[in-house]
C-alpha cells in the first residue's frame, strides 16, 4: 500500500498545477489544495516507511529498463517531508503577495516545481533524474521571470542558460555511463562507476553539471541576480528548495554509483566548499541591497553543505546527518529570511538597506523572523543550524581535517556580521507611518518558517531516525 504513495506524490502536485493554470478564479484554492495535499502524502510516507528500508514502485507495472521506477528511502522521504512542510507557508505568503493573474501563474508554476522536486527525490534511474532536473530548472526560471522587470528577465535568462548547460553536462556524463554499462538504473549501476571505461570522465561531467545547477562557488555567478530580483515567495522557493536538489543528487550518485570513490574528490569538494563559505560570506557583507545580501548568504551556506557532503564517504554517519540537518535548517531559515526581507522591502518600496525605515514597530513578526533565521544561519544554539554545524565539525575532526574547524568558526562570525547588518537597519532609521500595511499572513508565514529552523534544533532525533543509514 505504501508504494502507491510514490506516484501520487508526483501526480497530485502535477494535477493541481495543470488545473491551476486552466482555472481562472480558483488558483488560491488550488494552491492550498496542492500544497496541503502534498504535505498529507509526504507525512503518510514518512510515517509508513519501514525503518531502514526502501519502498519502490514500478509505474504501470513496467520493470526497469523499460518502466519508470520510483524509489523512496530515508533520505528522499526526509527531503520530501521538509519540502512539503515549507511549501504551504510559501503558498500562504504568495496568496497575499500577488494579484489574481499573477497568482494563477505562480500557483501553476510553483505546483509544477513541487512535482519536479518530488519526482527528483523519488526517481530511480539516471535519465528520469535528467527529466526531473529539467522540469525543476524550467519551472524555476519561469517563476524567477514572474516579476517581469528588465533586471528579473535578464537574470532569468542567465539562470536558464546556466541550468541548461548544467543539465547537458550531466546528460553527457549519463550518456557515457550508459555507453559503458548498458544500464541507467542506479541500483543496477551500484558501485560499478569507478571501474567502467570513461567512468571518471562521466563523474567529472556529472559533478560539474550538478555544481553549476546548485550554484556552488565558484559556479554561483547566476544565482544572486536571479534570486534577488524575483518576487519574495519565488526568491524563497528558489533559495530554499531549488538549489538543494542538485546537491542531494550528487550525494546519491557519488555514494551509490561511485561508492564514494577517489579520496581526491573528497579533498577537492571540501576545499571548494570552504572557499565558498569564506568568499561569499564576505561578498554578502559588502552588499547594500537586502535581497542580494540574502542571496550571497545562500551561496555561502551551500558551501557548508558541500563540505558535509565531501566528508560523507570518509566518515559516514556524522557527515551524512550533518548534511541532512544543515540542508533542512538552511531550507527553513532561508525561506523565512527571504519572506521577511521581502515584507520589509514591500513596505519600504525598495530593498536598499540603508533607507529601510524603522519597521520593527509595524512588523514585529518579520523582524523576529529575521532574528530567528539569523540564529540558525550563524549556527547558534538552539537551532537546526547549530546541530548541523556541530555534526560537520565532529565529522571533520574524525576525518583528521582540523582546518575545517577554523573555516566553520570564521564562517559563523562572518554570518553574524551580515545578519547584524540586516537587523541594525530593521531597528534603526526614521519612521514612516504612512506606508502601506501588509496582510498579517505575510508576516506569519515568514515567522513560522524561521521558527521551523529553530525547531529543527529539537527535532534532531526523529529526523535522524527517519534518515537511516548512508545510502
Amino acid at each position: 500500500m505504501t508504494d502507491a504513495l510514490l506516484p501520487l506524490l508526483v501526480l497530485w502536485p502535477l494535477a493541481t498545477a495543470l488545473l491551476a493554470l486552466l482555472a481562472m478564479r480558483t488558483s488560491a484554492i488550488l494552491l492550498a489544495l496542492g500544497t496541503l495535499g502534498n504535505l498529507a502524502l509526504a507525512a503518510a510516507l514518512a510515517i509508513r516507511l519501514p525503518a531502514g528500508q526502501d519502498v519502490s514502485h514500478n509505474v504501470g507495472s513496467w520493470d526497469a529498463p523499460l518502466g519508470i521506477a520510483l524509489r523512496a528511502d530515508g533520505l528522499s522521504t526526509f527531503l520530501i517531508l521538509i519540502t512539503a512542510l515549507a511549501s504551504p507557508l510559501l503558498a500562504l505568503h504568495a496568496s497575499a503577495a500577488y494579484e489574481r493573474p499573477e497568482l494563477r501563474y505562480f500557483a501553476g508554476l510553483f505546483l509544477l516545481f513541487m512535482a519536479a522536486l518530488n519526482g527528483l527525490f523519488l526517481a530511480g534511474d539516471l535519465f528520469n533524474l535528467y527529466v526531473t532536473l529539467e522540469l525543476l530548472g524550467l519551472s524555476a526560471v519561469a517563476l524567477a521571470a514572474l516579476s517581469g522587470g528588465p533586471l528579473a528577465l535578464a537574470a532569468s535568462l542567465r539562470y536558464l542558460l546556466a541550468t541548461l548547460t548544467g543539465s547537458m553536462a550531466y546528460l553527457l556524463g549519463v550518456a557515457l555511463l550508459y555507453r559503458a554499462a548498458g544500464s541507467l538504473d542506479m541500483l543496477q549501476l551500484a558501485g560499478r562507476g569507478p571501474d567502467l571505461p570513461g567512468g571518471a570522465v562521466a563523474f567529472s561531467l556529472i559533478t560539474a553539471g550538478l555544481l553549476l545547477k546548485g550554484a556552488v562557488f565558484p559556479l554561483h555567478f547566476w544565482l544572486p541576480p536571479a534570486h534577488a530580483n524575483a518576487t519574495p515567495p519565488v526568491s524563497a522557493a528558489l533559495s530554499a528548495l531549488a538549489v538543494k536538489a542538485p546537491l542531494y543528487l550528487l550525494l546519491r550518485l557519488w555514494m551509490v554509483v561511485y561508492d564514494g570513490a577517489w579520496p581526491l574528490v573528497s579533498d577537492v569538494l571540501l576545499t571548494v566548499g570552504a572557499a565558498g563559505v569564506l568568499w561569499c560570506s564576505v561578498l554578502a557583507i559588502q552588499q547594500q541591497r537586502a535581497k542580494l545580501l540574502v542571496a550571497y548568504s545562500t551561496v555561502a551556506q551551500l558551501g557548508y553543505l558541500l563540505m558535509a557532503l565531501a566528508l560523507v564517504p570518509v566518515v559516514g554517519a556524522a557527515a551524512y546527518a550533518g548534511f541532512a540537518l544543515l540542508l533542512a535548517s538552511h531550507l527553513l531559515a532561508k525561506a523565512g529570511l527571504f519572506l521577511a526581507v521581502g515584507n520589509l522591502a514591500r513596505r519600504a518600496g525598495h530593498d536598499n538597506m540603508k533607507d529601510f525605515e524603522s519597521v520593527v514597530r509595524h512588523m514585529p513578526l518579520s523582524a523576529a523572523a529575521i532574528a530567528l533565521a539569523g540564529v540558525s544561519l550563524m549556527g547558534l544554539p538552539p537551532s537546526g543550524g547549530f546541530n548541523g554545524k556541530w555534526l560537520l565539525l565532529q565529522a571533520a575532526l574524525e576525518a583528521g581535517k582540523g582546518w575545517v574547524v577554523a573555516v566553520v568558526l570564521a564562517g559563523g562570525l562572518l554570518a553574524a556580521v551580515y545578519v547584524f547588518k540586516l537587523i541594525e537597519h530593521t531597528f534603526g532609521g526614521r519612521d514612516r507611518p504612512d506606508a502601506e500595511s501588509l496582510p498579517r499572513r505575510s508576516e506569519w508565514a515568514a515567522f513560522a518558517l524561521a521558527g521551523g529552523a529553530i525547531m529543527m534544533g529539537f527535532a534532531g532525533y526523529p529526523a535522524l531516525r527517519l534518515l537511516g543509514g548512508v545510502p
Binding site: 528588465p150 528577465l153 542558460l161 541548461l164
Partner: protein
C-alpha cells in the same frame, strides 16, 4: 575507428565547440543557440552509444529533444520580453533616429 565511435568523438568535439561558443558569445541569442548545439552534441553521443537493436537511446533522445524544444521556447520568450522591456525603458531615445 568504427562508425559509432566516430559519432561519439564527433559529439564530444561538438560539445567542446558549443561550450566555447557559449562562453565567448556576446549576445543572448547566440548563447541560446550554443546551448541548443550543446544539446545536439549530447544526443549524438547518446545515439552513438546504442548497441545493436537497443531502442532505449532513441527513446531517450526523443525525450531530450522535446525538453530542448520547450527550453528553447522559454528562452526565446524571455529574450522577446527582455527586448520589449528594454525598448520601453529607453523609448524616446530609441525613436530619435527615425
Amino acid at each position: 575507428m568504427s562508425g559509432q565511435a566516430c559519432y561519439a568523438v564527433l559529439g564530444a568535439l561538438l560539445f567542446c565547440l558549443a561550450l566555447h561558443a557559449l562562453v565567448v558569445a556576446d549576445s543572448n541569442l547566440r548563447r541560446l543557440l550554443a546551448v541548443n548545439v550543446l544539446g545536439s552534441s549530447v544526443f549524438l553521443v547518446l545515439v552513438a552509444g546504442a548497441r545493436a537493436a537497443d531502442p532505449l537511446p532513441q527513446a531517450l533522445v526523443i525525450t531530450g529533444i522535446v525538453v530542448a524544444v520547450a527550453a528553447t521556447a522559454l528562452g526565446l520568450n524571455l529574450l522577446l520580453r527582455l527586448a520589449a522591456a528594454e525598448n520601453k525603458d529607453s523609448g524616446p531615445q530609441a525613436e530619435d533616429p527615425a
